[in-house]
């Protein structure tokens, strides 16, 4: 690889009040550099008005996702060397979400859909009762465990073409959350979960193309979680329980 001392970085600028337009910066290249480092360099050294979002910088908080060369990625853990196109990168706000400003997407619709998918805990006991023991090797627990490392980054939501075509669609992360709770021995309202994911925009809108699973930076598998919900709702329809 030829020695490079600069990268050509194009960032999308704009928001609800100004149409999006690309702006290009020359950014110093280093051996080890993430996309988030590059964006931060621009904000700190070239243009302090550039808006973006991050918090943990170690892939825990899910706040730094952006489109990088057209692909949704967690920018704090995406090395520039992995995504360089020639000597250039293009960074934009996450797809399928409204833009607040520049690289910061509005996550409200994403989180509202978690609630709409009943992605919240329905307790089996009150705080005054003993904590219920959990069997870690039960098949249901394994199913639930598969999805709990989700960091709510919305990469899957941005990757999903069904979200793009159908604004009602709850999306992979919210539905995976519903599946996790459905399999949680400590969740008391499975019927409410199945009702929520059977409504308009629920799991039956998924086309099983698997972009969510292909792009999830934590290597989770929302596609299979959604298939589980489809099976569970069909079983309930025929009068069976899981």
């Amino acid at each position: 690889m030829p020695e490079r001392d600069h990268l050509t970085v194009t960032v999308q600028r704009g928001g609800p009040d100004a149409p999006m337009r690309p702006q290009t910066f020359e950014v110093p290249a280093y051996d080890n550099q993430t996309v988030l480092d590059v964006v931060s360099w621009i904000q700190q050294n070239a243009d302090p008005t550039l808006t973006y979002r991050f918090a943990c910088r170690v892939g825990m908080c899910g706040s730094c996702a952006m489109m990088v060369n057209g692909v949704p990625r967690w920018t704090c853990r995406t090395h520039v060397s992995k995504v360089l196109d020639g000597n250039a990168i293009e960074v934009g706000p996450l797809r399928n979400l409204p833009v607040i400003k520049d690289l910061a997407a509005d996550m409200d619709p994403f989180f509202d859909k978690w609630v709409a998918a009943e992605g919240r805990h329905h307790p089996t006991r009150s705080r005054d009762e003993e904590i219920a023991p959990i069997d870690p090797i039960a098949a249901e627990r394994q199913e639930a465990n598969a999805g709990i490392e989700c960091i709510n980054c919305s990469v899957c939501y941005s990757a999903c073409d069904t979200v793009a075509g159908n604004p009602d669609y709850l999306g992979p992360a919210a539905l995976q959350r519903a599946w996790t709770l459905y399999n949680d021995a400590k969740d008391a309202d499975r019927d409410a979960i199945l009702d929520a994911v059977s409504a308009k925009g629920g799991c039956h809108s998924c086309h099983s193309m698997g972009s969510c699973t292909a792009y999830c930076p934590n290597e989770l598998d929302p596609l299979s979680a959604i298939a589980g919900l489809k099976r569970a709702t069909a079983k309930r329809f025929f009068g069976g329980r899981k």
Binding site: T162, G165, N166, S198, A199, K200, G201, G202, H204, S205, K230, T233, A234, F237
Partner: protein, 109 residues
């Protein structure tokens, strides 16, 4: 009808169609051995309760299956929403049913 019921109707109609498609293709391959004529086909189908029921159910399943699938495509690809989409899909479903029923009647009556 909820999205979920449409989903189930589409899956169940697919389940009904699968054996019909196989029998339909199987009989076609068998029937064209040694040439094919309209008289031969009509000789097999006219007055046959079996073929009337077979293709009658086939037509019903196709109409349901195709209309629900096209309803999804109209929403995601053509951006049609709400009642307008349901009406267009229902018209397509009923149209397919009418065309199919006419054809079934023509070869079995």
């Amino acid at each position: 009808m909820s999205e979920f019921h449409l989903y189930m109707a589409q899956r169940l109609s697919a389940l009904v169609m699968a054996p019909f498609v196989l029998v339909h293709i199987g009989v076609m391959i068998y029937a064209i051995q040694g040439g094919l004529s309209a008289a031969e086909i009509l000789g097999r189908t006219q007055g046959s309760v079996f073929w009337f029921a077979f293709y009658g159910m086939f037509v019903v399943a196709v109409s349901i299956h195709a209309a629900i699938g096209l309803r999804t495509i109209l929403g995601e690809w053509a951006g049609l929403r709400g009642g307008a989409r349901d009406v267009v899909a229902a018209v397509i479903g009923l149209g397919l049913m009418a065309l199919g029923a006419q054809a079934v009647w023509a070869v079995t009556s």
